[in-house]
């Protein structure tokens, strides 16, 4: 599946802190080291996302219901800039309505 990778540039505002769950009508599979994600909702004009490497790891953690603190502890390597990237990526996924708050 040919697809653009998500833009991981930080967006305005911070992630809600989680935990999150995968949004309804979002299909996803693991394919090798990647995760492929596709929102199945009108207007069906989005191509699938291909999440490689650490983006895939973040997705899998979100699918397990991990919150932001857990993500940073798990994948942040103790580096502040890394924590910021993780938060920005989760913000992006929320903005794209691919993940939603677990109790939202």
């Amino acid at each position: 599946v040919s697809s653009p990778e998500p833009d991981v540039v930080a967006t305005a505002g911070a992630a809600s802190g989680g935990p999150w769950r995968i949004a309804p009508r979002v299909a996803w599979i693991e394919s090798g080291e990647e995760v492929l994600v596709l929102a199945l909702r009108a207007p069906y004009d989005r191509l699938p996302y291909r999440l490689p490497g650490s983006a895939a790891l973040i997705w899998l953690c979100l699918a397990e219901g991990m919150d932001l603190a857990g993500l940073i502890a798990e994948l942040g390597d103790g580096q502040p800039e890394r924590a910021g990237e993780i938060e920005a990526f989760v913000c992006h996924l929320e903005g794209e309505r691919l993940v939603i708050p677990l109790h939202g």
């Binding site: 599946v1 040919s2 995968i22 009508r25 979002v26 299909a27 996803w28 599979i29 394919s31 492929l36 994600v37 596709l38 199945l40 009108a42 207007p43 069906y44 004009d45 191509l47 699938p48 699918a63």
Partner: protein
């Protein structure tokens, strides 16, 4: 999101709600595969194909599956009653349960190969071996209900299953099934089968569509269709009429040669 080998997605729709399903697909932005029309099922086509712009796979909205010879509504009701829910890409999806799925898989395997089951036997055997003994009994029962018992009789025998008494229903459909399998690549023969299954008053319009709807049998990809231009499309239709004429000649010749009552593989 599909498995790497998938080229299309087959969706069985309630025949009574087929136009509603087409409307829903179009409202979602899906586009008819060139040459298809929403009344394709009225011409005997078993599916109407849609493309989702930008997606590599097509989506076939089926009102029916070839080889299931019972009326489409009865087939749907049977398969719907025999459904279960599985997760496909983490989304709950209704599918026929294993026994019913075997029947659909088997006719799909066999329809595109010449008569006999030898070539497809390994795949069928793998699917069959995944069924429990009660599921195997149920598969034969479902095959009888949906009119697939005679199309699958040879396969059941090869798998060591007792298909039971001959199902005398659907003789015309069974003849068309055997005729199609005798030459699976012969779209002219398939069209003649469709035309022959219609009332006489409908046949002229069907013959015209057989020539005009060059793409209904997916003989052209969307890219080929778009690139063909008016002249290329006209040539394709002339060629289709020529192949239709040859198909008539072949089928007439075969019918004259075939002993009465024969032809069951």
């Amino acid at each position: 999101v599909g498995l790497p080998a998938s080229s299309d997605v087959d969706v069985l729709c309630d025949p009574a709600e087929f136009t509603t399903a087409c409307s829903a697909a179009e409202a979602a932005g899906w586009q008819l595969y060139p040459g298809n029309s929403r009344d394709s099922h009225l011409l005997g086509a078993h599916a109407t194909t849609y493309v989702v712009p930008g997606w590599p796979s097509t989506v076939d909205l089926h009102n029916h599956f070839p080889g299931l010879l019972a009326p489409p509504q009865e087939v749907f009701e049977t398969l719907w009653a025999a459904r279960e829910e599985i997760a496909v890409a983490h989304l709950p999806t209704p599918v026929p349960r294993p026994s019913a799925h075997f029947v659909v898989l088997a006719v799909n395997c066999l329809r595109s190969t010449a008569a006999g089951v030898g070539e497809q036997l390994p795949e069928l055997r793998t699917a069959w071996s995944s069924l429990t003994s009660s599921e195997r009994v149920e598969a034969v029962a479902i095959a009888r209900t949906v009119g697939a018992l005679e199309p699958l009789r040879g396969a059941f025998a090869a798998l060591g299953a007792d298909a039971g008494a001959v199902d005398p229903r659907f003789r015309r459909g069974l003849r068309a099934w055997h005729a199609f399998r005798a030459d699976p690549g012969d779209s002219g023969g398939a069209w003649l089968g469709r035309v022959g299954s219609r009332p006489w008053r409908d046949r002229p319009a069907h013959l015209l569509r057989a020539v005009w709807d060059v793409n209904l049998d997916h003989s052209r990809t969307p890219e080929e269709w778009a690139a063909a231009g008016p002249w290329g499309r006209s040539l394709a239709r002339v060629d289709r009429a020529r192949r239709g004429g040859l198909a008539v000649a072949r089928m007439t010749s075969a019918r004259l040669r075939r002993p009465r009552g024969g032809g069951m593989p």
